[in-house]
Structures are given as C-alpha cells and as structure tokens.
Point group: C2
Chain length 110, copies 2
DNA sequence: TTTGCATACCTAAGAATCTTATACATAAGT
DNA sequence: ACTTATGTATAAGATTCTTAGGTATGCAAA
C-alpha cells in the first residue's frame, strides 16, 4: 500500500493495538514491527510516529519509561488503564469502519 | 461511526464507486445515498463533498453536466474513462488497506 | 404570511494527520 | 572514511476533513 491515503487516521489504532499485545515497545521497534507484520507494505514514518506517541502520552493513554541500551536511548511506551479502554474503542471503530465501507462498496447493496 | 477519523481518505473512493454503479449523480444525491446505505452512520458533509467533486473533475476523473430541475440547479457528475480506471485502483487500494489492517490488528498474527 | 424544512449549490478558516526533510548521536560493517 | 542500522526528535508543507457561514428555490404548516 505504501501508505495509501486510507492509512490516515489509522496510526493511533495501530500503536494502541501493538502495545496491547506486547506490553511495552519503543518507537523504532514499532516501525519495524509494522513493517514485518505487513511484509513491507506499510512503513510508519518517524515524522508521523513520534508526534503521535507524544500526543497519546499527553492524553494519558500511554506511560513512558526511559532506558539505555548499548549506550543508546530508548523510550518504552506502555498502555495506561485508560489507554487499554481506548484500544477497545479504536478497534471497534475500525471494525465498524470496515463494515460501513463494505456496505458502500459491495456491488450487491448499492 | 459519525465520521470517525478513519473515514479520512475514503471519500474519493466512495464517490467513484457510487458513480460507477449509478452512471450519473449530483452532489446532494450522493450525500443522501451514503446516508441511506449506511443507515445514517456516515454523513458526508458538503464542505468535504463539493471540493472533492471539483478536484476529481479537475483531475479528469469526472465530467459534469448541468441540469435544471424544478427551477433548481443540479450538477450531474459521471465517470470519465480514466475515472473508471481509477475506481478500480481505489477499490483495490481499499481491499488492500483492509487486509493490511486486519494483519496488524488480528490477535493471532501479531 | 412567514417560518421552517428539504433541496441544491458553494467557499473560507481552522483542525487533524500525514509526508518530507532535516538534525543529532552511537554502533557496526565495508 | 563511508554507509547502514539503530534510536530519538522537530519543522515546513500537503492533504483532507469539520465547522460555519452564504445563496437560492419549493413546499407545507402555523
């Protein structure tokens, strides 16, 4: 997909879901994970990812924990309680969006 | 869904697909059709629709035909040849997006 | 009769989310 | 010495939307 316009708005859902499954992750790890899971089709850019992480943190959905590995900085993010709740909402929203789009696009109904 | 953020980027796909199925439609008709097909869940706003239609026209994907019905103006849009091709692309993109998102979000794979 | 709703078009300001480009820094390979 | 990988970050610009207005006709209800 190489970041189709449809991807817009999905980044938060992706971040929250990955953190829901992996307990804690750092930014670079998220970009690599997404690349791997989508076989290179979706590449999260840093310019989108880091501001998104900061915003989710500011909203109280994520907690940060700074670590130093191999003399390099890492910022591990994990879901807060309200982050876990929001993950459920976002996933429901995604399911609903897909359902709605299929209703609009499937030839039998329109 | 009341226009979730995921909807961003989907409008062109929706417009093209509807025009692909209905030959010609005017703006207001599109908003009503979408509302009906999604049972009121998705409401295309005019502030999004009209600029989108104008842009698709400027890109050569749509042709316009002005009509007057009940003394009221209507602008009928229909797909051009390249608009029909682009519709196929957009629908493939949507299918791919959904597949990719499911790969990221389905618990069994991540 | 005038008030409101449906029909029908339009644009402008602002918000949100992304891309692109750039910057900084360490480690490891060529 | 140079490039690639790892790791973070921000700023300028593009795109796409929402919100809020504007214009106008037809019809029904108060």
């Amino acid at each position: 997909m190489s970041n189709s316009k449809l991807y817009k708005g999905s980044l938060n859902t992706i971040i929250l879901k990955l953190l829901n499954q992996h307990d804690k992750m750092y930014g670079y790890e998220i970009t690599q994970k997404v690349k791997a899971l989508t076989k290179g089709e979706l590449n999260i850019t840093e310019g989108a990812l880091y501001p998104a992480l900061h915003k989710l943190e500011a909203e109280g959905l994520l907690d940060v924990e700074i670590a130093k590995v191999d003399n390099r900085l890492r910022k591990y993010y994990k879901l807060t309680e309200s982050g876990t709740k929001e993950t459920v909402n976002k996933l429901e929203e995604l399911a609903e969006y897909i359902k709605t789009m299929q209703a609009l696009v499937s030839p039998k109904l329109a």
